[in-house]
C-alpha cells in the first residue's frame, strides 16, 4: 500500500540520518530528516513549557535557531501559536500583510532573517499536547500535498521522543516508532489513558507516560497493556509502580 510505503520511507530516512552519524536514532535525526525531505532551510522542535510557553528543544540550522530565538523573545509566532492547538499553523507567505498583522513583531524579523514561509505542526494526541514541529523555508509557497503528508508523518515520529523527553532520563532505549497508520491499536491506548488518568487522579499526559512505562518495565506492547486496562485486568494506583512517573516533572 502506498500509505505504508510513505510511512516506511519516513522511518528509513530518519534511520539513515542516524546511521550516517553512527549513533542510535534520536529526536534531532527526526528533525534533520524532515528538513531534508521538504527542502527546508531548517526545522525547529519546541516543547510546551510551563504556563504553555514555547521552549526550543532542537534546531537544525542557524536560520532555525534565529527563528526559535525570535519566538521565545517576542512570545509570538506560528510555532508558539500551534503549541496546544489541535491543528497546524500554515504560513506560506510570512511577508504578507495578513501575516504581519498576525505577528507584528515576529513576521518582519523572521523575514529579515531569511525565512519566507513557516509551517508549524502541533505534537498532539487528543487532549495531550507536548510541543510543536516547525518547518522554515527560504521561499514563499505552500507545502505540496505530498510534502504535507510527509511532514505529518515526521510530526508523528517526533511525538514519542518528546514524550520521552518529558518523562526524563531512564527510558534511554528510545520510544516505539510512530503509530501512524496503526491507529486502530491506539484507540484502546487512548481509552486506557483516560481510565488511568481517573485511577491516578492525574492529567492525561502523566497517565499516558505511566502506561508506557509499565509496558517498558514488563516488556510488553503498549497496546497489550492498554487492552488489559480497558478490560479491567490491570489497574494503576497513585502510590505504587512509580517508575513511570518518577522522572516526570522532577
Amino acid at each position: 500500500m502506498a500509505t505504508v510505503d510513505r510511512a516506511a520511507r519516513v522511518l528509513a530516512a530518519i534511520n539513515e540520518v542516524a546511521s550516517a552519524e553512527g549513533v542510535p536514532v534520536a529526536v534531532h535525526h527526526v528533525c534533520l530528516a524532515c528538513a531534508a525531505a521538504v527542502q527546508a532551510s531548517g526545522v525547529g522542535l519546541y516543547l510546551m513549557g510551563e504556563l504553555g510557553l514555547c521552549e526550543p528543544l532542537y534546531v537544525t540550522s542557524h536560520v532555525s535557531e534565529q527563528v526559535a530565538e525570535l519566538q521565545v523573545t517576542l512570545g509570538e509566532g506560528p510555532g508558539t501559536e500551534a503549541l496546544g492547538e489541535d491543528h497546524p499553523v500554515l504560513v506560506p507567505a510570512l511577508g504578507s500583510d495578513s501575516s504581519v498583522l498576525r505577528w507584528p513583531a515576529f513576521a518582519p524579523a523572521a523575514v529579515a532573517a531569511g525565512v519566507s514561509a513557516v509551517f508549524a505542526f502541533p505534537l498532539v494526541m487528543g487532549a495531550i499536547s507536548v510541543g510543536a514541529l516547525e518547518i522554515h523555508r527560504g521561499w514563499e509557497g505552500e507545502l505540496s500535498a505530498a510534502e504535507l503528508a510527509e511532514v505529518l508523518l515526521f510530526a508523528d515520529a517526533a511525538l514519542p521522543w518528546v514524550l520521552d523527553h518529558l518523562s526524563g532520563p531512564g527510558t534511554a532505549d528510545g520510544p516505539d516508532l510512530p503509530s501512524s497508520g496503526f491507529e486502530y491499536r491506539w484507540a484502546e491506548v487512548h481509552q486506557a489513558t483516560g481510565m488511568v488518568s481517573v485511577q491516578l487522579d492525574s492529567d492525561l499526559t502523566v497517565a499516558f507516560l505511566r502506561l508506557r512505562a509499565h509496558a517498558y518495565l514488563t516488556g510488553r506492547q503498549l497496546s497489550q497493556v492498554a487492552r488489559d486496562v480497558v478490560e479491567r485486568r490491570l489497574r494503576f494506583e497513585p502510590d505504587t509502580d512509580n517508575a513511570g512517573a518518577a522522572g516526570f516533572g522532577g
Binding site: G194, V198, Q199
Partner: protein, 241 residues
C-alpha cells in the same frame, strides 16, 4: 414519512457542511441516520486522511467500531475492498462458503454481525473512503436501502470535496487535523467516563452520544468537557448512586 426523513437527512448533511467542518460529528450523524432510516443494525465510515492513511472516523456502535478497526488492522474486509475498488461490495451471509474474508468473517461474528454492504465515498476518480452497513441477520440490505446509502455517501463526498475546493487549502488542512484529533479526544473521554461511572467503553460512548444529542451539543464538545471536567456536564460525569 420515511421519504420525508430521508429528504431531511440530505438537507441536514448539506447544512452541517456549509455551517462548519466538524467532520467527526457530521459523519457520526450520517451513521446514525443510516441505522434509523435503513434496514441495517450498524454503520461505520472509513475516510482517507492527508497522510494517505485510511481512518475510521465514525461508527454507530462500539461493535461496528471494533469491526472496522479489525479491517484496518488486518488489511482484509469488504469495506477495504470497496475503498480500493471504488465499487459497492456486499456479502449476504458472512458465514457461507466460499469465504472471501475468512478472518473478517470471524471478527464479524464475534461482534454479532452476519451481513455487510459497503458503498464507496467517491466522485469520479476521487475516492475518499467508504460507508459500511452491517446487519445482524444473514440477509441482504435491500437494493432500495443500498441506493439511499449510496446517495448519502455521494452527498457527503461532494460536500467534502466542494468544501476543500472553496476554502484555502491551509484552512482545510488545519480543520481536517482538528477533526482527526477530536477522534482521539473522544477515545480519551470514553476512558475517563467509563472509569468514573464504572461502565464499559461501549456504554460510555452511548452515554456521551445521548448526552450530546439531548443537549444539542457536538460529540467532540462533550468529550472535551468530560476531559476538562467542565462543571456544566457534572450530571454526565458523576455516577448516579
Amino acid at each position: 414519512m420515511l421519504d420525508q426523513r430521508i429528504s431531511e437527512t440530505f438537507v441536514e448533511l448539506a447544512d452541517t457542511l456549509v455551517l462548519g467542518f466538524d467532520g467527526i460529528d457530521f459523519l457520526h450523524t450520517l451513521t446514525e441516520r443510516c441505522v434509523q432510516l435503513l434496514g441495517v443494525d450498524a454503520a461505520g465510515i472509513l475516510l482517507i486522511d492527508q497522510r494517505g492513511t485510511l481512518n475510521l472516523v465514525a461508527a454507530s456502535t462500539e461493535q461496528a467500531r471494533l469491526l472496522e478497526l479489525f479491517q484496518l488492522q488486518n488489511e482484509e474486509g469488504p469495506c477495504l475492498d470497496c475503498y480500493h475498488s471504488g465499487q459497492g461490495v456486499a456479502c449476504v451471509d458472512l458465514a457461507a462458503a466460499p469465504q472471501r474474508w475468512p478472518q473478517f468473517a470471524i471478527a464479524a461474528r464475534e461482534q454479532g454481525f452476519a451481513a455487510v454492504q459497503a458503498v464507496p465515498m467517491r466522485l469520479r476518480e476521487q475516492i475518499l473512503g467508504a460507508l459500511n452497513l452491517f446487519r445482524c441477520l444473514p440477509s441482504a440490505v435491500s437494493a432500495e436501502d443500498t441506493a439511499v446509502a449510496q446517495s448519502f455517501a455521494n452527498v457527503a463526498t461532494i460536500s467534502i470535496l466542494q468544501l476543500r475546493a472553496l476554502r484555502h487549502s491551509e484552512m482545510v488542512t488545519e480543520q481536517l487535523q482538528t477533526a482527526l484529533n477530536s477522534r482521539v479526544v473522544i477515545e480519551q473521554a470514553k476512558g475517563i467516563l467509563a472509569e468514573r461511572r464504572h461502565i464499559s467503553i461501549a456504554e460510555a460512548f452511548t452515554l456521551m452520544r445521548t448526552y450530546a444529542r439531548d443537549h444539542n451539543r457536538l460529540l467532540s464538545q462533550v468529550a472535551h468537557a468530560v476531559i476538562t471536567q467542565a462543571p456544566d456536564i457534572a450530571d454526565l460525569t458523576t455516577s448516579p448512586t
